[in-house]
């Protein structure tokens, strides 16, 4: 067969299968909707995990912790200590907040101003705000804090990385759940398409029988059903992307407000090219795969009887 004829035949098959879809609009739409939802769920969860990662990444920058110096330490020694710390590994930045700065800050807060005024002297210590290096893990930050507690002149070190660890752990768990859900829902698509095509094969048993009588190979008979699976998967993927897009658009406002509350610069990302390609490819793979399952089992079972 010439390449042109071969291409034409495939194009005809593909279009013919599309015609099959349009002949049963309601049933096809239902199948496509189920596939779309099954694909949209894991994809949306995956987007959420990605967003969570971005968010924690943003939060990493605010892992600053405070080193409260002993009351007897004067400003010069505090500055000296800050300078030594800046040389240390694992530390990105050290900021000195003197007792006066801290008191000035407090005076701006309503209520504190009066309380401070009643005190004979400034009770606040000098404080070093330490920002760990971005690459430092939670455990390393904890070690750093322990070390600093042993430094002369250091009164108290307050670190709270626990919540960050918990968030990371939760995100990791969610990521696993997404993987499992994705696998299960992928199987769902496989079976939905497989079953739909099985019914379609049964409805066209007569046609298949006649085609085989006239010398059609199994490959010839299979082809339109495989295309059908392809279209189901592709259409399901498009529906999934629409669902995710609508959800993202509806969520953009509230999420932006929430993120602003936490003072992070993170924004809800849109549908990336990766997600679009991933969803469409998963849909097509599952659709085609489901069709293969169905044709493998049911087409060779149809043998012409005269």
């Amino acid at each position: 067969m010439k390449l042109g004829a071969w291409l034409t035949r495939h194009a005809q098959n593909a279009l013919g299968s599309l015609g099959t879809l349009s002949r049963n609009p309601v049933a096809s739409a239902l199948t496509i909707a189920v596939i779309g939802i099954a694909l949209a769920l894991p994809a949306a969860l995956n987007l959420l995990v990605q967003q969570g990662r971005l968010l924690t990444g943003d939060v990493e920058a605010t892992r600053d912790f405070s080193v409260y110096l002993a009351p007897g330490v004067d400003v010069e020694r505090a500055a000296g200590l800050a300078a030594t710390l800046r040389q240390r590994e694992g530390i990105a930045r050290v900021r000195l907040v003197t007792a006066d700065d801290a008191a000035a800050g407090l005076r701006e807060e309503p209520g504190f101003a009066e309380a401070l005024a009643t005190l004979p002297a400034n009770p606040l210590p000098h404080t070093l705000v330490v920002r760990p290096a971005p690459a430092a893990t939670a455990a390393e930050v904890e070690d750093l804090a322990t070390e600093l507690r042993g430094e002369p002149g250091v009164d108290l070190v307050r670190v709270d990385t626990g919540w960050l660890e918990r968030l990371t752990a939760i995100l990791d768990l969610v990521r696993r759940v997404v993987l499992a859900a994705g696998a299960l829902l992928g199987l769902t698509v496989l079976f939905v398409v497989g079953n739909t095509i099985r019914l379609d094969i049964q409805n066209r048993a007569q046609e298949i029988e006649v085609a085989k009588l006239l010398g059609a190979t199994d490959a010839f008979v299979r082809r339109p059903f495989l295309y059908l699976g392809f279209w189901y998967g592709l259409a399901g993927g498009v529906v999934a992307l629409l669902l995710i897009g609508i959800t993202l658009a509806a969520m953009a406002g509230p999420v932006a407000r929430l993120l602003a509350l936490y003072g992070t610069g993170a924004r809800l990302g849109g549908l990336g090219l990766g997600t679009v390609a991933g969803v469409l490819l998963s849909g097509i793979t599952a659709g085609w795969g489901g069709a293969w399952l169905a044709v493998g089992r049911h087409i060779s079972a149809i043998q012409p009887k005269v």
């Binding site: 067969m1 010439k2 004829a5 071969w6 034409t8 035949r9 007569q206 046609e207 029988e209 006649v210 085609a211 085989k212 009588l213 006239l214 010398g215 059609a216 190979t217 010839f220 012409p304 009887k305 005269v306």
Partner: protein
């Protein structure tokens, strides 16, 4: 082109009685023969063995020197593409137009679009259905459906044509016309085996007869 030999062929359907017993005959390449016999004599069974729709219980069906009854399943499509078959019940697709029904064998062999159009119209013209190409089989009379089945059997220019009661629903005049068409195809070299119990028609055509009775080959009775 296509020579046929039945070599001591017996056929017993599963759970049935013997449909054919020890049938031996030969058909030369390019020959035309009628298969006659009463209902249940085994005519359709002979044709089904040739179409590889059934396999013999014993014996061999040889086509062009090849024992086709032993052909592996994957070689059956290529074999069937070279055999034109007219079925007793036509086997037309009711939801396809006459044109689409006749085009099917050509689509299966991957024939180009323009060639399909040319050949389908030629075949429809030969059976007198050119003006019905857009009709679907249920809208055609029994005789027209039969002719549509014949058009589909000849459209791919098979080397061997087997026809099961191709004129069963036709009036004598149309029957003669169809038989004349078969004759013409035979003259260009197509080997033909046609099952028919229309004895007057068969006798009129003065072609070779292979007679069956109760699944056995019997001598052809002399014409009255």
């Amino acid at each position: 082109m296509a020579a046929i030999r039945f070599d001591a062929v017996s056929k017993r359907y599963e759970g049935g009685r013997d449909a054919l017993t020890d049938v031996t005959f030969e058909l030369a390449s390019g020959e035309l023969a009628f298969l006659t016999g009463r209902s249940g004599a085994g005519k359709s069974t002979v044709l089904k063995l040739l179409g590889l729709i059934e396999r013999p219980t014993r014996g061999a069906v040889i086509v062009d020197g090849r024992n086709v009854s032993r052909l592996p399943a994957r070689d059956i499509p290529a074999y069937r593409q070279q055999v034109g078959m007219v079925f007793q019940d036509n086997k037309l697709l009711p939801d396809r137009t006459a044109y689409e029904n006749v085009a099917l064998p050509l689509i299966i062999t991957g024939t180009g679009e323009r060639e399909i159009g040319r050949r389908v119209r030629a075949a429809l013209d030969q059976v007198g259905l050119l003006d019905r190409e857009r009709q679907r089989p249920p809208a055609l009379s029994a005789g027209e459906q039969q002719r549509l089945g014949i058009a589909r059997a000849i459209v791919a220019r098979p080397r061997l044509l087997i026809a099961d009661e191709p004129t069963g629903n036709l009036d004598p005049e149309l029957s003669l016309e169809i038989m004349t068409l078969f004759r013409r195809l035979n003259e260009v070299g197509v080997t033909m085996l046609i099952a028919s119990h229309d004895l007057p028609l068969v006798e009129r055509l003065r072609a070779r007869r292979i007679a069956l009775a109760d699944g056995r080959l019997v001598p052809v009775p002399e014409a009255a």
